[in-house]
């Protein structure tokens, strides 16, 4: 039977979702947290169903998280790591979609290095598709697991001040988080050097800061983004050393945020580049491990809903 609150076939992004839909996905995720912590971690919700992890880009944690989520729902899970060929990317992608579709999977979890590629694929298949990250566009399950983490720690999303720091320009995590947090009534700030701030970002409703001390002032949540090393060799940022000095999260900069501010990171972390180990490992405030844990619950909820919506179609 189709989910009453979230009737969609795919989860391609957060943009366009309503607060009710988002809350529903979070509520459904909540139910699996206890299961994941128990000894016997399996349900039969998706018994006999097939989930394919189709990853056109390297991933360890997200792919593992989707895989575990599928297995714990009792589904068959197949992992496909596909090498992308830059020459025939579009053609290969659609061919792959058509081929896989012929095998009647229930849900595809897809990651691709090109923005919009997951949508292109979703248009060609009959099953449900969940976006596991497309280019610099969206990473909806990451935003949901971040929101779940915040909601459980702070009891709400509405009215919180969330500072997102780092490579916003290239980050799909940041984009999905803007949409989700703003939809849920949080205040979103971004903090980055101007070279890593995409143009027109203010129009999305976020506040832009280039100074960590100002941007972190009285923040409830500090969300650090990973900065890839190839951006650090002078094209966007002069050096790792300079980046850490001005935009790396350490105790001194964190002192501007609220005393109970949470420290979040989507992983994998570059210690000493965007975050100091001292802060990353702060047991009280760092939610980095919790985010990974809740990621499985979120993906279980999403896979379950999409598989059921697909069966009802």
């Amino acid at each position: 039977m189709r989910d009453q609150v979230f009737p969609h076939r795919h989860l391609l992004g957060i943009e366009g979702l309503t607060p009710i839909e988002i809350n529903h996905l979070l509520d459904c995720s909540e139910r699996y947290i206890a299961l994941n912590r128990s000894t016997h971690k399996t349900t039969e919700a998706l018994k006999g169903r097939t989930i394919i992890n189709l990853f056109f880009e390297n991933s360890t944690r997200t792919r593992t998280s989707f895989e575990l989520a599928g297995l714990r729902l009792g589904a068959h899970v197949i992992n496909m790591q596909v090498e992308t060929s830059s020459v025939t990317k579009g053609e290969t992608l659609i061919d792959t979609a058509v081929t896989l579709n012929a095998m009647h999977p229930d849900v595809l979890a897809v990651r691709h290095s090109d923005s919009g590629a997951v949508k292109l694929l979703a248009d060609k298949v009959n099953c449900g598709v969940v976006n596991g990250g497309d280019g610099s566009h969206e990473h909806p399950t990451q935003a949901l697991l971040d929101a779940l983490t915040i909601r459980r720690r702070k009891g709400k999303l509405n009215g919180l001040v969330v500072a997102i720091c780092g490579d916003v320009l290239h980050s799909r995590v940041a984009r999905s988080n803007f949409h989700l947090l703003l939809t849920m009534g949080a205040r979103v700030r971004i903090i980055a050097p101007r070279t890593l701030i995409p143009s027109g970002i203010e129009r999305l409703g976020v506040e832009v800061f280039t100074d960590m001390a100002k941007g972190l002032r009285d923040a409830d949540i500090v969300m650090m983004l990973r900065v890839q090393h190839e951006r650090m060799k002078g094209s966007f940022i002069p050096s790792v050393r300079e980046y850490f000095r001005f935009f790396g999260l350490d105790r001194a900069k964190l002192s501007q945020a609220k005393p109970d501010a949470l420290i979040m990171h989507p992983g994998p972390m570059n210690r000493g580049t965007e975050i100091d180990s001292d802060v990353a490992d702060d047991f009280e405030r760092s939610t980095i491990r919790e985010q990974v844990e809740l990621g499985v619950a979120v993906r279980m909820a999403v896979l379950e809903i999409l598989a059921q919506n697909g069966a009802a179609a």
Partner: protein
């Protein structure tokens, strides 16, 4: 070099000129220690206190020491052309009490250690206060951003690739955006390099002389392009040594649009034109090249109207061997510190500008632009002063320069306006009568 602790000094019978307040008239000034204690029309009622050293200015001008925002200091790396010692001695003889060096030393100023090295070496001279710009790109190669934040913390006042343009549009865009992060100033040598492989201004003269030209468009195109990127990034941008009439118009339009844009020019470009190249005079081989008479007049007008914010010496010392060559092979650049004030005062003698406005472009404007607490005569400010006779004529004799390099395009020319005394932190560091640098 002995550094006597400055006591109390009273400057009486002076014509006080302070562009910051617009004051130009008879007055007196008292310094105590390193600072200006007071300045006004009549401080002492003819009876200065007994414990004070009295300097009778005899009606001559007393103004803030000059702030020269663009000099090339050849130390470290090319001390045979100029050292911090010879450069500072030339500067105080020219009335310059603060100057800013370009990062094209060897090693290049693209790390904190070099910024600190120059600062420490300059402090030892105890003469003109020396600041530097940091490299905008690593190695001045125009490819990767330099560590602007760390360089600024070490003391760099702004960022530039010195005598090279930041030519790649994407690199400039990112340099501007990165600088805007911290509100740093980017200073551009505005010259499209693919058009600038000649040796003098493109035109009738270059054709007659058979010399390859650098068209005015090299500067015009680069400025037009840069200002699009400035508008896009919201950065602070300063165009160095503008030399064409169109450049003045372009900057005027950018300012009217509200862009955060400033510019300077050098005495070469308002006092000389391409005719100075004359008989293949390599001392007149400058970068950018000397332009047409129409351009020169437009630069004068730009200074008068204020579109051009500052005058900088663009001091570019070279040894004899770099200039005693066929024109095409000779180095670009002219010595400028010791002629800066006199040539600039020429704008006053030609009735183009009031003296106080000439000084404004040499003192408070560059200081404000660079965020330096200098260039004004106010209580509590450091006593950095220049005393000069705006009318006294003299002939430029480059061989008499204190600078190691004698490559002045003004060599042999008569000028009007002589530095009589230069004071830094209350201490006399140059006096024309003794000629000595104390």
């Amino acid at each position: 070099m002995s550094i006597a602790a400055p006591g109390k000094v009273a400057y009486i019978n002076a014509r006080i000129i302070d562009p910051a307040t617009g004051f130009d008239g008879p007055g007196e000034l008292l310094t105590i220690g390193e600072e200006i204690a007071d300045v006004g029309r009549k401080l002492f009622e003819g009876k200065p206190p007994k414990d004070v050293q009295i300097i009778d200015c005899d009606g001559q001008c007393l103004a803030p020491g000059l702030v020269d925002m663009r000099v090339q200091l050849r130390e470290p790396g090319e001390e045979h052309k100029e050292s911090l010692k010879s450069g500072c001695e030339a500067a105080v003889a020219g009335g310059v009490t603060t100057m800013v060096g370009l990062p094209n030393t060897n090693p290049i100023i693209d790390d904190e250690a070099t910024v600190e090295y120059v600062a420490r070496r300059a402090r030892k001279q105890a003469l003109t206060k020396v600041y530097v710009y940091g490299a905008a790109t690593k190695g001045l190669l125009g490819k990767e951003l330099a560590e602007m934040g760390l360089l600024a913390e070490a003391g760099a006042l702004g960022f530039t690739d010195a005598t090279k343009a930041i030519a790649d549009a994407q690199v400039l865009r990112r340099a501007l955006a990165y600088a805007a992060t911290f509100n740093f100033l980017i200073i551009q040598h505005p010259e499209e390099p693919s058009l600038a492989n000649g040796v003098m201004n493109t035109g009738e003269i270059s054709t007659r002389m058979g010399l390859s030209g650098i068209p005015r468009e090299a500067e015009i195109i680069m400025l037009e392009r840069d200002l699009r990127l400035v508008a896009m990034t919201g950065a602070r941008y300063h165009a160095a040594h503008i030399s064409t009439a169109e450049s003045v118009e372009i900057i005027a339009r950018a300012k009217a649009r509200g862009l955060n844009v400033t510019c300077d020019t050098a005495p070469f470009y308002f006092a000389l034109n391409e005719m100075a190249v004359g008989d293949y005079r390599t001392f007149a081989k400058l970068s950018p090249p000397l332009r047409t008479e129409d351009d020169r007049q437009a630069i004068v007008e730009g200074l008068r109207s204020g579109i051009i914010d500052c005058i900088a010496s663009d001091h570019a010392p070279h040894d004899q061997d770099s200039k005693r060559l066929p024109f095409a092979q000779a180095a670009f650049g002219g010595s400028g510190l010791e002629t800066l004030l006199a040539v600039a005062i020429g704008l006053h003698h030609s009735a183009d500008m009031k003296l106080i406005d000439v000084l404004r472009r040499l003192t408070v404007e560059p200081a404000a632009l660079l965020g330096l607490d200098a260039g004004r005569l106010a209580k509590g400010k450091k006593a950095d002063l220049v005393m000069f006779d705006p009318d006294r004529g003299w002939k430029v004799v480059a061989d008499d320069f204190r600078s190691k390099s004698k490559n002045s395009p003004f060599d042999g020319q008569p000028v009007q306006g002589k530095v009589l005394r230069t004071v830094i932190d209350g201490r006399c560091v140059f006096s024309a009568t003794s000629g000595a640098v104390s």
